[in-house]
Symmetry: C2
Subunit: 243 residues, 2 copies
């Protein structure tokens, strides 16, 4: 039996999603919780990694286990054992050909900037930018990113080999809300640190450090430079995985 689960987590105190030796990740915390319920080690597969400090409003994972009590009871069992910074939102049985990663058609991320200095209750969830940003130039640069492009210059350039660095951003938007500037991006897939690089680069445009034409240049030349800035992890939320 295969189970699909949606979960939210505050990434502040975790070394990202993916289990790694000697660090506590969200995945590992969930696997340990499942082990407590099922009395055996059950590996889970997430839709993709998130970095240390990155949050998820909805991350999706799946796992295989024979359980005869239904998804709602399993959800309650997991829920009650997880720490407060991880929450399981739903558990449902799916067919064996569902795969949280390979079946995913698209993902949506939101990056939260705070214009000013975030108070002690908000700093975990945003990047504080004290200087004024120009939303018009940011919007202009953002519009260049929509569509199918080679984003080689706008993702991490080390440690990961991709078959292709071409991705299609189907939707991008900037919304102003209560002092926050929320940048959202939906695409068929994202490379390592790509959303943070897009966010950091757009902020550099908004601050006038680089121009809109520099963003076009990143897409044209595919060459990463220091001007493509990686925004801090704590402002990033995985919003949704689409299947």
């Amino acid at each position: 039996m295969r189970w699909k689960c949606g979960c939210s987590y505050d990434g502040t105190d975790y070394f990202g999603w993916q289990t790694q030796e000697g660090q506590m990740s969200a995945q590992q915390m969930i696997e340990e919780t499942l082990e407590g319920i099922f009395k055996s080690r059950v590996p889970i597969q997430g839709s993709g990694r998130t970095d240390t400090g990155v949050h998820a409003e909805e991350q999706v994972f799946h796992f295989d286990f024979d359980w005869e009590h239904g998804g709602e009871k399993m959800k309650k069992a997991i829920y009650s054992r997880l720490p407060k910074d991880i929450r399981v939102n739903y558990v449902e049985e799916v067919s064996d050909d569902f795969h949280s990663r390979f079946s995913a058609k698209a993902k949506r991320y939101r990056y939260q900037l705070f214009m000013g200095t975030a108070d002690p209750f908000a700093w975990r969830y945003c990047w504080s930018v004290p200087e004024r940003v120009n939303l018009n130039t940011m919007k202009e640069a953002m519009s260049l990113l929509v569509g199918e492009h080679d984003f080689a210059a706008l993702a991490a350039n080390r440690g990961v080999d991709y078959e292709s660095t071409v991705r299609t951003i189907t939707h991008a938007a900037i919304e102003l809300e209560n002092g926050y500037v929320n940048l959202s991006f939906q695409a068929d897939g994202f490379m390592y640190k790509m959303v943070r690089t897009l966010a950091g680069t757009l902020v550099n445009v908004g601050l006038g450090r680089i121009g809109v034409e520099d963003v076009q240049n990143f897409l044209d030349t595919k060459k990463r430079t220091a001007m493509a800035f990686v925004a801090p992890a704590r402002g990033l939320f995985l919003e949704r995985v689409f299947y």
Copy 2:
């Protein structure tokens, strides 16, 4: 020279406001920060304690130190050295007879209930109450608390000796906002755990576990019982100190 400072803090990771042996408190974190700036130990005096996990939107403290560069520069120096979960909001020179605790005329606290189960980004800042509460009976019980009363039955009954257990609540209100029920209390002073006991007791009224008449009984008999429940620290915010 005497300095008055307003600060905010997220109490989650601190053992309350007040410095105590072997634990990191908000006060100690600020004192260590001042020591780094002034190169000498400068004790600070807060308007009062807050418990482990309790937050402050504005706590006030004062200290004495000869500094010739003005409050704004001192604020910036402190601000840049504090961790992100404590923020200094203002620093101003005051006369030597100002005392953060003894000059305080009133305080306002807010207690945040969440109706349902708070998500991983909100749990530090509220008490999740999954059952439905009756706001009408809570309001009725709250109205009994306003005015001058002996609150002996509605505060911690151990470890603290008060000259008097009479306090005057000048303002109390319940507000519903985005799934939150915010309880606010303003008084000339509060005893240890008093606001959390008021909040917990009102929730018990709202859940129908005790009646409005039981609250009147607490005030009349001055006897604490198990029905006077202490709500969790994480939902409590010191909002303001009035001078």
